[in-house]
């Protein structure tokens, strides 16, 4: 009797200890999950606090409307439009490549390609997206630009065109894999219905599958845009670092990201206006990509819940 009682209480004590340990472990895991929230808070805090210091020197209105970007000269001008023009132009070139190619590849892989080809092609495309972007940058500068110069000899050594083209190739995997997922999510019965009406694969793809997967495709494009806007090393290496208010892809121009790299490569004293400038530029970039990302995820969630 007494021995069994002792056994029970010992077991109870162990269980109580166990329960306490369980709570502790859960708390530790929860804190680990919270780390990501702290990362975001850290990013926002750093960007905003330095930007506030920046905007104390430079009025917001000047920042948005000035057409010169010369933050490191004596006669300093801070017109983000200049950097934005480089970013938008290069992104536009990249998307002009990535969206048609990525969509076609996605349609082909999802609706046309034989199973074996798909099994080979998908990892290969992912490989294309996994190459370090600095490698792409040198590829654009040392291979694509000379190639383009053969066709168009006046092209300067640094230009937005070759950087944008290579960036487009880099983004293809992102666009194609999300688009393909979206098309795969379209139920088979819709395709079968279309085939039963005598449609070809091409007709089924363009008239049934693509419209059904449209919000997924849109999300793929938007995430591609956000990728292009935030891309750094390709542009820093191949598009030059000269701020230039232009929408002509044949000219060299600095982007927001290239500017940050340029400043960071030099040694700027902590707290100087030049140091704060990169945070203001970073904040612009962060807000831009955040807007695109949120939009993309909203659309993506919608296509996931559609069926």
């Amino acid at each position: 009797m007494s021995s069994s009682e002792g056994l029970t209480s010992a077991r109870l004590a162990r269980r109580r200890r166990g329960r306490w340990a369980e709570r502790l472990i859960e708390t530790i895991l929860f804190l680990a999950a919270l780390a990501s929230v702290f990362t975001t808070l850290g990013i926002v805090y750093v960007l905003v606090s330095e930007s506030v210091a920046f905007f104390r020197h430079v009025p917001v209105w000047d920042f948005l409307t000035d057409t010169q970007w010369t933050p490191l000269f004596d006669d300093a001008h801070f017109g983000i439009v200049v950097l934005l023009s480089g970013t938008l132009t290069s992104s536009f070139v990249a998307l002009a490549i990535a969206i048609p190619l990525g969509t076609t590849i996605a349609i082909y892989l999802s609706e046309f390609a034989p199973f074996k080809l798909r099994e080979v092609a998908k990892p290969f495309l992912e490989l294309l997206g996994g190459i370090p972007t600095i490698v792409y940058g040198y590829f654009a500068l040392l291979f694509v630009t000379p190639l383009l110069q053969r066709v168009y000899p006046e092209l300067p050594g640094f230009n937005l065109l070759s950087a944008g083209l290579v960036m487009g190739i880099m983004i293809i995997p992102y666009v194609s894999s999300i688009s393909e997922d979206a098309m795969r999510a379209v139920p088979m019965s819709l395709r079968e219905g279309s085939y039963a009406m005598g449609a070809t694969r091409f007709q089924t793809a363009t008239k049934v599958v693509v419209p059904a997967a449209l919000s997924g495709l849109a999300s793929a494009y938007i995430l591609g845009i956000s990728r292009a806007v935030g891309e750094t090393m390709i542009l820093a290496v191949a598009a030059g670092m000269q701020p230039n208010l232009t929408f002509n892809p044949l000219e060299p121009a600095a982007t927001i990201t290239a500017f940050i790299v340029q400043v960071a490569l030099g040694d700027l004293p902590h707290g100087s206006i030049g140091y704060q400038t990169i945070f203001a530029a970073g904040l612009t970039l962060f807000l831009l990509t955040l807007a695109f990302n949120v939009l993309g995820h909203v659309l993506r969630r919608r296509f996931r819940e559609a069926y």
């Binding site: 990362t39 960007l47 892989l109 792409y136 190739i169 007709q203 940050i260 960071a264």
Partner: protein, 264 residues
């Protein structure tokens, strides 16, 4: 009359079939553009890089003279940074993934964490560099050290590790958990003895993908100020003294990239 209609229909079908076939070719061509680019990139680098790839290249320091330049300090720096990254990102990422899949209740806190992770995955890497510059280098006083670079890259690949962990855990059948609970295991015992071993291959894949990305990532490390011409090995990297790491000797021709690519 009837034959005419039949002929028209046949023509229509033939036209659509041609279009169908045509699109197949276009699709294949688009795929080939990707393949060709990759081949061109690889061959271009190999032609320019391989003649310079010898033992000395890996064992000598960067030099002003291109002929003698090596990447010793670069790869030593990269390796140390990767060690820090792995040591931080793997435990943190796996723990977060386990929490979200196994423990998290459905409430707004969980929602906030999840939205956060998807957003973090889309933040440009240069912004992480700015975070590191403002927070690690100046606010925490880590200086331009291997530790700061490693922590930055760890935060950068955290979403990758978390997502991979969650997907690996999600594919484990519920019956495994039920079996463990039926034998009286606690939740943590179930996770530790059943969930994690089963999910290990998937988690490992995610970790490798994340590390490959971290090795190739240049922008955030540049903002910390690590890309400097140095010709010595870091004496004591983890003490946070202002030791500079040449993570990538990008000033040379494409050679370091070849090595990177082979590694990745």
């Amino acid at each position: 009359m009837k034959q005419d209609e039949v002929r028209q229909i046949r023509e229509l079908i033939a036209r659509h079939k041609r279009r169908d076939f045509g699109f197949g070719l276009v699709g294949l061509a688009c795929l080939l553009i990707g393949v060709l680019t990759f081949t061109a990139l690889f061959v271009d680098m190999a032609i320019k890089g391989v003649p310079r790839l010898d033992w000395d290249f890996f064992t000598s320091f960067p030099s002003r003279r291109a002929g003698q330049a090596g990447i010793l300090s670069a790869w030593v720096g990269s390796t140390l940074v990767m060690l820090v990254t792995a040591a931080v990102a793997v435990p943190l990422g796996v723990a977060a993934g386990v929490y979200l899949e196994e423990y998290a209740r459905k409430n707004w806190v969980t929602d906030v964490i999840e939205i956060n992770i998807t957003n973090l995955a889309g933040v440009p890497s240069i912004v992480y560099g700015l975070l590191a510059l403002g927070l690690f280098v100046y606010a925490f006083g880590l200086g331009q050290s291997i530790l700061a670079a490693g922590l930055t890259l760890a935060l950068l690949i955290l979403p990758v590790v978390i997502v991979a962990t969650r997907e690996a855990i999600r594919s484990i059948p519920q019956s495994i958990r039920e079996g463990a609970y039926a034998l009286g295991a606690t939740q943590w015992q179930t996770v530790k003895d059943h969930i994690l071993p089963y999910a290990a291959p998937g988690i490992l894949t995610g970790v490798i993908i994340g590390m490959a990305r971290a090795i190739g990532e240049t922008a955030p490390v540049i903002t910390i100020g690590a890309l400097t011409f140095i010709a010595f090995l870091p004496p004591s990297p983890l003490e946070g003294n202002p030791v500079r790491v040449a993570v990538l000797a990008v000033h040379r021709d494409a050679d370091p990239d070849v090595q990177l690519d082979l590694a990745a």
